[in-house]
Symmetry: C2
Subunit: 735 residues, 2 copies
């Protein structure tokens, strides 16, 4: 098997540094993400973690997750105290001596002349430290453990550390609440070494401790088993995943597991840098959304007044039937993670549905961005409805009681559900505007400022799409009244379209338009503007065209959006969505290029996709970017889909889901489907120097008459023979 | 072996009904106390639980503990819903058909014609319900489970219940915070039946559920395993304690365990009612202070920002080395539980010390009244210092690090420790007055009203005694500076003595006496008055005599206190401590009778003890009382000690502890000491019709010259031959 993992650049994009965006020593969807931290307390999340702008390492911490962090360790030489914190024990390092690939990270700590190597299993971080030989007795080696300093988004409320025997230590650390996460949660760990260590006395009210290692004759290997539920589970995780295995064996396992995951999509031909970038993108699509359940299937439920340890059902082999995950928002996942996972990693979709239904049963709502066993209510609207619609309509999830699932989803579309809650609205139900949405057909501006993202206009448009996703499921299940109700609601975005300006725009409670209006203004819009959100409703192309008055008017305005955006490199710096119509570094614009195709101009889709990719998504160096913020796999998954020429502008919700076909960037793409079936995409006529347009496609020997296939078609497998041409021809010319 | 358990009247005193005071189906110190509830929501604690004033049963709940309750079940017939709550499913019952003995309770539910029998292991409640034979199919049997209604002191915040198979159910319920308990805590349970049952749909936001049982052909046995940590532990507790055992076997086990505990003190001769009452008293001394740890030694630590499951160290047989306990205050325990346990149940003292040191390590303070893994700060001062002083000075507890224990105790005697905290002062350190106590030698009135019991005068006197207890330990450990420091502080009660009135009295910050003064006033005193607290300081008889000017003046005032108190039957109704000088139904007066003896008049001690006992502690019917509130073994233990003629007015703190000897109420008392040694007390000349005075005592063949022996003397074992006379003679006449 070719070594795809070695092509991945895990550091890509960490010029901005974000706590959740970087992972080196970790497994796909793994709980532990062990990596060097260059800053651990800068603004909580942004700038934090591994940042390419820095040249000092403050330690190695085990969790880099959505609103979660902890267990910072640092090997040192000589009389260095843990109580000085990261500023006291940090070390310069050089990127010349750094090596970083999926599942493995090596750095040299110049201050101490220590070589640090990191690898991981799903729930265990493994360290190997090579200390200088012949240390003088006055300069012993030690491992510092800092459980007190802020570590990522959370300040640490309390912690413990105790020594069980010469080589075993255990403890816990409590991540405090944040603006985004209303409750504390606890991380438990068991740490073992392959050499004797002594825990020096420390202040238990502020656990910054030193494990003295003497003068180790050989490299020291340390294993840290982690659990969100208990010490017992941390011990079980450590034992189950690493017992009897050396650092090198575990490193090789990690590399192999990443290759096993990446090899589900083999791309060949085309530009070698783009191929490498493709695997970096795929890596990110499988990196975040981390496991929080234990190897035995226990997980923490923190939705109630007290945390509870609950149990995931076991299968016939007594293994958990699925995992639980922390997760940033599913905002924009309909155009990225959901269609990708649905096609290539359907088991992940199934696991998320199980996990989210458990949260529903525990806490009363299908969640938005759960972490530490509780809700975070990150971003807006009912983003998980499209996920479930995709899962149930495409045979990816088989609940015991589909009626219960439907009721759970439906609840989010009414007052008290997620459509009531704006960003991080933990205790009230006023910022989502659902009452206005139902009563008026749109959400006016001026919602109570109870939370973030209380923008009436963009919430209207998002609710409408999620309503449409629910319709897809209601139709399948025969809920005809709901089909009618939610179809009507799914057109509410039209109520914001002002023909006099040719945009959707914010509206007041009395029905008047919010003045003044500028299509690039921030007011009314969540991380975007009127340009982007006017073109958000890919589920209702006919309605959009109707709003604009004609297909040509619609296409002309869309073309203008791209022309203007290219001048700004299709990218808005964070919090500057007023500088560019379409930001391909952020979620809301991700389907806009495909609207051409849905409106009968596939050539313009292919043209602009190529421009966007070439502008901001082409390189594979650490300093290359995703445009903006990777957002736990969203940007990676989008690039993967676009690169292989498959996309679902409607979020893969239908039965069966619709996928749009565009020109792949590679000559051969081989996707391994469930049960070992293969889907091959073979492109002829690929040129690196110009836009490639799809001229014709044969699918399993028959010519396609449109650039679209369904999930059911694609998962049969077989071969797509794609003929490309440097100018629009054939299928790319048709409506 | 004689059947002492059958002599016990568990219902005694429940005319007042208190949540923590009643236990029938339970084991000594058991976690589960399963019993019929006649009220579960009346004022939280007082009046609540099993109340002799009531004639309806609202259900059977499993936990009757300090600030803890839960898992209410009720068997019913026919179409009775759980959602109506106790008012809807309650049933009348008759005390004619009731049978209640330690470890077993049987009642007949007249509304349903169901016979309900209850027994328990330490952590499992076992029910056997005999339903009417030949139930019509329209009237099926069912078990209602109400996890939503207030159950004792706590409202229930949330709960879950789910069916695992036809005969297994599991769930949890969260006890909300109370004024007395700052945080919620969770109770987990697993319920099994010996017949198939079906869980009907219920509202998960308010768990009041119905298990349909059909028409059972035989009595139905239900086992409910309980844990404060997790479902896993609840299952382990259920399995370990009851697997394969029938109701009758478990009932017999419970009876045998109670007999094993009670038989450590065998009393013979004397009045048969008093003998029975003696075992009731002893039962109460072993009933409360309930276990909270699991059979595997896991326990919940709720002192930090999140609950943690921690592990008690295991012994060579892999069993927990001790248990953790919930506990009401140790206020007054120095005159009841501590001297009794120290002599006859020393392993309990050892376990409490371990448990309290774990709480110190977890939460930073040796606790006052822990529950649900956290502090409650019930009552005042550092009540556990005498417990530890007794344990360490009398070889009952062997900590790994005695310096750590001493530092932990000492911390409570300074600002930030328990002497800073008045009753239920969870978040501040202002109500205990320790800064004033140190600076002025007394605590003035007018402390900030941050909590309950912020009475400067009684806190001064209590702190002084606890300081004296610490001195006993400081001396043993060679902390000479502390001996001097705390000896000086232990005399601070003298600073409140006003010779012009002949009482300790409240004092102002400027040194002046608080006006007006009335020795029966409540102001300044916690649940007592100036009469009681003036005579509180048994540790400093010389100082008291000095205050009064002469021994005669002291004895005269003490005599007056008893004469006046007898007119009120030595008893103050709750919150009416302004009606009687000395209330033998409450803690602060418990050593007053023994002050005569310490001041050289043992005859008056014996005279008044007999009066008090005959007046309020003689009967053994349900409607008899302990005077006031039993307070989790305090009153029972006091009666036990007085009844066998042993007492320690200084709280058994010294090395070795001093025990005062008085006339036993029985002809023969046989105490089984550790390692099977026996201490026999054989009284000759006992008369039921008059006060008995000790004329002479031979101890192991040698005559005593004073009415006092030490813990070291007594635990050697042997025989005390006590010669009694109806008039003061011999030893009872001496100083």
């Amino acid at each position: 098997m070719a070594d795809y993992a070695s092509l991945v650049e895990p550091r890509l994009g960490n010029t901005i540094g974000r706590w959740i965006s970087f992972g080196s020593a970790c497994r796909p969807f793994g709980l532990v993400a062990l990596s060097p931290d260059t800053r651990i307390d800068g603004n909580g999340d942004w700038g934090c973690g591994y940042n390419l702008a820095d040249n000092e390492i403050v330690g190695f911490s085990h969790i880099h997750d959505w609103q979660s962090g902890g267990i910072l360790v640092m090997p040192v030489i000589g009389d260095v105290s843990a109580t000085a914190g990261p500023a006291g024990f940090k070390s310069p390092f050089s990127r010349d001596t750094e090596f970083c690939k999926p599942g493995y990270h090596r750095v040299h700590l110049d201050r101490y002349a220590i070589t640090a190597e990191l690898t991981a299993t799903a729930r265990v971080g493994i360290h190997r430290y090579t200390f200088p030989s012949d240390l003088p007795s006055s300069q012993p080696a030690a491992l510092l453990i800092d459980l007190a300093s802020q570590c990522g988004p959370c300040t640490m409320l309390s912690a413990s550390l105790s020594q069980l025997n010469a080589r075993t230590f255990e403890g816990h650390v409590v991540n405090g609440p944040t603006k985004r996460k209303p409750k504390p949660h606890t991380v438990h760990f068991v740490l073992t070494l392959d050499t004797d260590a002594t825990l020096a006395p420390f202040d238990p009210s502020r656990v910054q401790a030193r494990l003295d290692l003497g003068r180790p004759a050989a490299p020291v290997t340390i294993k840290v088993g982690v659990s969100y539920t208990s010490l017992t589970a941390a011990r079980a995780n450590l034992h189950t995943e690493t017992a009897g295995k050396s650092f090198d064996v575990l490193r090789a396992e990690a590399h192999a597991e990443w290759n096993d995951a990446l090899v589900r999509i083999v791309v060949e031909g085309g530009d070698p840098v783009r191929r490498a970038r493709f695997y970096t993108d795929l890596y990110f699509a499988l990196l975040g959304r981390r496991t929080v359940s234990d190897c035995t299937g226990t997980y923490i439920d923190n939705t109630g007044p007290q945390p509870l340890i609950r149990q995931i059902p076991l299968n016939a082999e007594s293994l958990p039937r699925y995992r639980h995950f922390n997760s940033d928002a599913f905002w924009g996942a309909q155009w990225s993670l959901v269609p990708l996972w649905a096609l290539v990693y359907p088991e992940i979709i199934d696991e998320f549905c199980h996990c989210f239904m458990d949260l529903y049963r525990n806490g009363g709502l299908i969640p938005r961005g759960p972490t530490g066993g509780n809700y975070t209510f990150v971003m807006t609207s009912a983003q998980t409805t499209p996920l479930f619609a995709c899962a149930l309509n495409n045979d990816l999830h088989h609940p015991a009681n589909v009626k219960e699932v439907y009721q759970a989803l439906r609840k989010n579309h009414f007052p008290g559900g997620l459509m009531s809650k704006a960003g991080y609205e933990h205790t009230t139900c006023q910022g989502g505007g659902i009452e206005d949405y139902i009563a008026r057909g749109y959400i006016p501006e001026g919602l109570p400022p109870v939370a973030m993202h209380t923008n009436g206009a963009s919430q209207t448009i998002e609710h409408a799409y999620n309503d449409w996703a629910l319709v897809q499921l209601a139709r399948t299940l025969g809920h005809h009244v709901d089909v009618e109700l939610f179809t009507r609601r799914s057109r509410n975005h039209r109520n914001l379209f002002d023909p006099s300006v040719g945009f959707c725009r914010p509206r007041e409670r009395d029905g008047s338009w919010t003045e003044p209006f500028n299509p690039l203004q921030k007011k009314g819009w969540t991380e975007a503007n009127a340009w982007t959100f006017t073109f958000h409703s890919a589920h209702d192309i006919a309605g959009l065209i109707e709003c604009f008055g004609s297909r040509d008017a619609f296409l002309a305005r869309l073309e203008t959006a791209f022309v203007l955006s290219e001048k700004q490199n299709f990218f808005a710096p964070r919090d500057h969505h007023n500088v560019v119509p379409l930001d391909f570094g952020n979620e809301p614009a991700l389907a806009t290029a495909h609207l051409f195709q849905l409106a009968g101009r596939p050539d313009r889709t292919q043209f602009w996709l190529r421009r966007v990719i070439d502008t901001i998504k082409a390189g594979n160096a650490p300093t290359d970017t995703w445009g903006g913020d990777e957002d736990q796999g969203i940007m990676g998954a989008w690039n993967v889909l676009v690169s292989i020429g498959l996309f679902s502008a409607t979020g893969a919700c239908e039965m069966p889901a619709r996928y749009q076909l565009t020109a792949p960037f590679f000559e051969r793409v081989t996707i391994t489907l469930p049960a070992g079936r293969k889907l091959r995409i073979v492109a002829s006529g690929l040129t690196p120097t110009a836009t490639n347009y799809v001229e014709s496609i044969m699918f399993n020997g028959a010519p396609l008459t449109a650039l679209e296939l369904t999930h059911a078609d694609l998962t049969v497998g077989g071969e797509l023979q794609v003929v490309l041409s440097p100018a629009p021809a054939g299928l790319s010319q048709r409506a």
